[in-house]
């Protein structure tokens, strides 16, 4: 699995993706890790099928005991079905999840891990060097859904918003925004159910200072592409599958 450091200061952001050993037929996912001095957080650590590659990649950067927190933006299998396996290695870790999904996520087989339900309005996670914010993103696409904003690194981990289901060797960052639009369109129109939720999110996220918008699938947006994406998304009509 490829691993890239996207922010490196007193704390660091890593992205793990484009696993060449990924099983045929499953979608590629971006997993993130925030490494602070005494705390390490894994964001949307992924599905069962990529667990071995993901843990291997993580072990290049941190000792297992350093990982203290997990975050699941929502309940999807590509987000967190590996939870039962992570728990074997991290029985003392805390899992931050939308309160709505706690009882559902427990179906992934983790009993010892400490569940930290996030309330609808969001909250913060203090990792020492940085205080991360849980940004509500309900109905984009999941009904209980959060993004994570890092005000120091100016990174917004945006879950399925900004995602594309791209080729396994796609670049880590979006290189040609106009070409990228074509790939994003269907994903957002089909998976995002609510224009109202979308507008509300645009309003909230528009106020944040974002250098990198980091989705859970496909290329990350940086610099001017962030605003380009927000503008494009604002105009897009979503939830189109209703006949």
């Amino acid at each position: 699995m490829k691993s890239t450091i996207i922010y490196d200061d007193i704390h660091a952001w890593h992205v793990f993706a484009r696993d060449p050993e990924k099983v045929e037929g499953i979608i590629d996912t971006n997993q993130y890790m925030v490494k602070a001095n005494n705390r390490v957080l894994l964001l949307d650590p992924g599905g069962i099928e990529i667990f071995s590659s993901m843990l291997t990649a993580v072990l290049h950067h941190v000792h297992l005991e350093e990982i203290t927190d997990l975050f699941a933006s929502h309940q999807d299998p590509d987000i967190i079905s590996s939870l039962g396996l992570w728990e074997q290695a991290l029985p003392g870790a805390r899992l931050h999840v939308p309160w709505l999904w706690e009882g559902f996520i427990r179906h992934f087989g983790a009993k010892k891990i400490k569940y930290m339900p996030i309330e609808d309005h969001g909250g913060t996670l203090d990792l020492g060097e940085v205080k991360l914010q849980f940004i509500p993103a309900h109905y984009l696409h999941s009904s209980g859904n959060f993004h994570i904003y890092d005000p120091k690194a100016k990174i917004l981990m945006s879950g399925d918003v900004g995602a594309v289901l791209d080729k396994p060797d796609a670049p880590m960052f979006v290189e040609d925004f106009d070409a990228h639009i074509e790939k994003m369109k269907m994903f957002h129109q089909q998976w995002m159910p609510s224009n109202r939720a979308k507008q509300d999110w645009i309003k909230r996220v528009g106020k944040l200072d974002i250098d990198i918008l980091a989705p859970q699938h496909g290329g990350l947006f940086q610099g001017a592409d962030v605003k380009r994406f927000l503008d494009w998304f604002e105009e897009l009509d979503v939830g189109i599958a209703i006949p």
């Binding site: 590659s53 290049h60 000792h63």
Partner: protein
């Protein structure tokens, strides 16, 4: 087939075969009630048949109890097979990490976890084997019951022979008992063989 699949199939086989046994045992009870009435009418000429009907009644009751116990054991077996399989899958995923992460700076932090996973897996295997063994013992008990049931059916045939005008009726009772016993024996054998096959597979895997 994986161990879990073999175990689940074995447990399902035991459950379905035993529900057949339970049905046969119910028929046995009905038949023995009928036999009691006949032998009462036959009076002195069927005196030896009375205790036999009591025996048959006892056998049917014992079978019923054993069916409940074995079905419960089969349920536990299915549950254990799922736990076993989860433990095996987990272990395999971690073994893959060990293989892949050879040159990772922090691979040593997996040491304790691997030991824990191996221990848990061994523990699951032991529990599974124990449950299989106890099921095989229970099924063996069932086999023993059918053995005594065969003896009773022979005795009832002898008694029927001396019951003059009730001979035919009591012979029907003896026939019923014989065929019921045969049914129960064959359902039990199918279950027993399945359990033994799984135990052998598990033992072979342990040796590997």
């Amino acid at each position: 087939m994986t161990t879990q699949e073999t175990v689940l199939i074995a447990a399902a086989t035991v459950t379905s075969e035993l529900s057949e046994v339970s049905q046969v045992a119910k028929n046995m009870t009905l038949s023995v009630m009928n036999a009691k009435t006949i032998s009462q009418c036959a009076g002195e000429s069927a005196r030896g048949f009375h205790p036999i009907t009591d025996y048959i009644e006892d056998i049917a009751k014992n079978i019923d109890h054993l069916v409940i116990q074995i079905s419960e054991e089969a349920r536990t077996l299915s549950r254990l097979s799922v736990i076993y399989s989860q433990s095996e899958i987990g272990l395999k995923r971690y073994e893959t990490v060990i293989r892949k992460a050879k040159d990772a700076a922090h691979v040593s932090s997996l040491k304790g976890i691997m030991q824990k996973l191996y221990d848990e897996f061994e523990n699951c295997r032991t529990l599974l084997l124990r449950k299989l063994e106890s099921l095989s013992v229970s099924l063996d008990d069932m086999k023993n019951i059918t053995r005594s049931s065969i003896v009773i059916s022979i005795m009832s045939r002898v008694e029927a022979a001396g019951a003059f005008e009730f001979r035919k009726d009591l012979e029907v009772v003896a026939d019923n008992l014989e065929s019921s016993t045969e049914d129960i024996r064959s359902h039990t054998d199918i279950s027993y063989d399945k359990i033994i096959t799984v135990m052998e597979q598990l033992h072979r895997e342990t040796q590997k």
